[in-house]
Amino acid sequence: MGARGLKRKLHECEEGGGSVWENQLQSVLDISWDKFQRDQALVEPSLRRSVLINNTLRQVQSEVRTSLSGLCSPRKQHSPLRAQHELRSQRECSPADLDASVFSVGMEDTGDDFMAWSTDEDFSLSSAISAILKNLDSALDAGPSVPQRFPLASVENIPGDGKCRQSVTFSHMVESCRASEVGGSSMSGFLQDATIDDLLLDIDTSGFDGDVSGFGSRTFSFPADELVRYLPALSSSPSAPSSPGSREMHELEHIMDILVRS
């Protein structure tokens, strides 16, 4: 299976070498995320293990970020400022919430961990994020009873709290990343890109081009058929989001879960 990580060079990103690195990146993300989730379900995960998994996830994040920041500068058209802002805040929540989730279980000082944000100037991640989304979808298919918590994303998506948002920003990130990565082709051009297409399948792209403000408190829920429905509508206005009712339920479950654990 996965080999050692290769130091990814700039010019390699569009070639085969990049995809090898991406594959490993994706697999490391998959596994780390899986472990992270499982540890959340444990009553008392080992602190050393949690710290190591968390650091690995952070490292993967930063690798993706650095590789993209070298590429993304000329490709700003798909990274609207508001997306950037959301991404930034999105990114902020990620490590914070990761930490919060990791350390709030059975540990001290759980009180306000999940409220804290830190500032970060970097922005969007790559198709690796979409890989995460694919994982989430597969996790969804498995019929989870536990409310979904997604890597590098806000754990709580409590309406009105003004915390991180998820689905919209993910799709924003994906779009902007892919724009920068593949290089300038149009949105529809991405759809033809075989390597990324399947990654896109699971993204809730509703609201991608639409009002960002409307999604201030959207929870991340993935009815698979709805997502597929959205797939060809990437450049069109967003369709109706998934039913608010189920989202509320998810949010409540989120909250309850956090409260119970902390």
Partner: protein
């Protein structure tokens, strides 16, 4: 209890008890949910009484010579606690191996008419591997001579979690996952066999820690013994410290081979006599004489008795650690010791249990910023003010307790700069140090990370003086090892008495020894097949690529469940103890 050819068996556990007696084969099985009783069975007729609607038990005469086993059906579970659902379902030919916390129900049916269906049962101490072959319908009427049904519920296997020789090497202590400590003592060399080295036999067994429940956090505290450290012997008794995740206990192991007899205050049968009635010293009466002959009053005398080894807890050091204790280390002053958990290190006095000094605290104010934990700590063998602790980021800090009360600022910082060409996503995880040990001389220290062992000179902080690759062939498999969690295994390492060799464990029950002087290394395997008495261990080799030579093992066929995490080397001689899951292997060097 053992199963012998005469077929009597007694098994008493916490959840059931079972008695099977003699060849006439009547047995009783009582569990919490059902009972069975079997009367005498003749040649054909089987009399079964079962007290549970879900369980059908058939039993019969167990006469005859060989006791052969094969597997039958299980209908329903005997006990609600039977955890492994797989094991209770209908099982066919397969090997039933019990994990650490699993309980399994095994029904074995012995049939003479079936051709040689056998099963081996090995018990050590509570572990069991039962190989089952064949299925037999439970309610078949079997016209065979003897059929015997045997139901047993196995207690979880005891995985050894720590191994430690004492200062003289005479005693070897092991701790296991069930909170038990077993101490082995070396037999004195007998004059009859001057060439044979002393063997280690069980000296004492006691339950050191019990599972506890933390009500505030609703967490169960495991009773697994994380570390055992001996104290230097000062009198006839032996003392050791044993710790689980939260509590450290000081145990006194003492021998008793005399017993006082002839008490004045106690009757012969032990009852206390009323003190007011005792007016004179008791006089003894000669036995079996018609005329009582009264001898002069006596004081109690010490009579010899069978040697009894007692272990008693003398101190309990509790409630000082929020996180899991990973190390304890006795100081060279023999009065204090340190205990380290993931974020803090405490210094204790052996006599004082209600408080300890916190000397290292790396907990950040904001737990979100936590990126590093303490993985091991040890006191210097000669300088009682010096200790080191290692971290999950591959760094070692040496601290001097004279410098400050809180040793957050290190005196020395040991870290090897990372090799940029071998950087990967797992660089940090594999650099996490799992064990740190000072050499006996106190000049060097050794650290074990996932793939290598490094020897550091205490005077040189920027890099180790020696690096030994333990299983470099795993570097290309790190992603799989990350996936199956093997990358988080914490291997220990140890020095030999003269600091000329070091030893550490690996996978597939391999362990590696490195000679520091000749730079040679050897890989050996701890397995039952290779362990005949006095048999020389054959060096093993892992084939890393290309053609596999004879006797080599390829990397892909390594068994990653068989890992040797704990090893110990006798402080003076070339005797090593290697813990392979739930077996303890002791090897000695060959005498020419």
């Amino acid at each position: 209890m053992m199963v012998t050819r005469t077929c009597w068996f007694v098994l008493v556990t916490r959840t059931f008890w079972f008695v099977l007696v003699t060849r006439t084969c009547w047995f009783v099985l009582v569990t919490r949910t059902c009972w069975f009783m079997l009367g005498i069975a003749g040649d054909q007729d089987l009399l079964v009484y079962a007290g549970d609607q879900d369980m059908l038990v058939i039993a019969g005469v167990g006469g005859g010579n060989d006791f052969q086993w094969c597997f039958s059906q299980v209908k329903g579970a005997i006990d609600e606690d039977v955890a492994e659902a797989d094991n209770t379902s209908l099982l066919s030919e397969r090997e039933l191996r019990l994990g650490p916390r699993s309980q399994a129900v095994v029904i074995c049916v012995v049939k003479e008419s079936e051709a040689c269906i056998g099963a081996g049962v090995s018990v050590f101490p509570m572990a069991c591997v039962v190989e089952v072959r064949g299925t037999v319908a439970a309610n078949d009427h079997l016209p065979c001579l003897f059929v015997c049904l045997f139901v047993c519920l196995f207690v979880p296997a005891d995985i050894i979690s720590t191994v430690e020789f004492n200062y003289s090497g005479e005693l070897l202590a092991t701790g296991d996952k069930g909170g038990r400590v077993v101490i082995f003592q070396r037999e004195l060399e007998s004059k009859n066999r001057p060439l044979s080295r002393g063997e280690y036999n069980v000296y004492s067994t006691f339950q050191s820690h019990e599972p506890e429940f933390d009500y505030l956090k609703s967490l169960e505290i495991e009773e697994k013994i994380n570390k055992i450290r001996w104290l230097p012997q000062q009198n006839a008794a032996h003392f050791l410290l044993s710790t689980n995740d939260k509590t450290i206990k000081l145990w006194k192991i003492s021998e008793r081979d005399k017993r006082a007899e002839g008490y004045n205050l106690k009757d012969e049968d032990g009852r206390l006599r009323d003190p007011f009635r005792i007016t004179t010293l008791r006089a003894s009466f000669k036995e079996r004489s018609l005329i009582p002959i009264v001898s002069p009053p006596q004081v109690p005398v010490l009579m010899p008795m069978d040697l009894m080894v007692e272990a008693s807890p003398r101190r309990i050091f509790a409630n000082a650690h929020t996180y899991h204790i990973n190390s304890i280390s006795v100081n060279s002053d023999h009065e204090t010791y340190l205990s380290a958990d993931d974020l803090r290190i405490n210094l204790w006095h052996l006599e004082i249990t209600d408080r300890s000094f916190n000397i290292v605290d790396i907990k950040p104010a904001n737990m979100e910023e936590l990126t590093e934990v303490i993985t091991a700590a040890e006191c210097h063998p000669h300088q009682c003010n010096v200790f080191v602790y290692s971290s999950s980021k591959g760094t070692i800090r040496l601290c001097d307790m004279r410098a400050a009360a809180l040793c957050d600022r290190h005196s020395k910082f040991f870290e090897e700069p990372e090799d940029p060409s071998s950087r990967s996503f797992f660089s940090e995880i594999i650099s996490s140090i799992s064990d740190v040990k000072f050499s006996h001389s106190g000049r060097y220290m050794m650290t074990r990370d996932y793939l290598s062992v490094k020897v550091w000179d205490l005077n040189m902080e920027n890099r180790p003086v020696e690096t030994y690759q333990v299983h470099e062939y795993l570097r290309s498999k790190l992603c799989s090892l990350y996936e199956n969690d093997c990358i988080f295994d914490k291997f220990e390492c140890c020095w030999n008495g003269s600091d000329s060799a070091i030893m550490t464990g690996s996978y597939n029950n391999f362990f590696r020894m490195f000679d520091r002087n000749t730079r040679r290394d050897i890989t050996l395997e701890a397995s039952r097949e290779n362990s005949k008495p006095r048999a020389m261990l054959k060096p093993r080799k892992v084939c890393t690529g290309g053609k596999r030579k004879k006797d080599e093992i390829s990397v892909d066929s390594l068994d990653f469940n068989k890992k040797i995490l704990h090893t110990a080397w006798h402080p003076k001689e070339n005797v090593i103890a290697v813990a392979a899951t739930n077996n303890l292997y002791i090897f000695q060097d060959k005498i020419n």
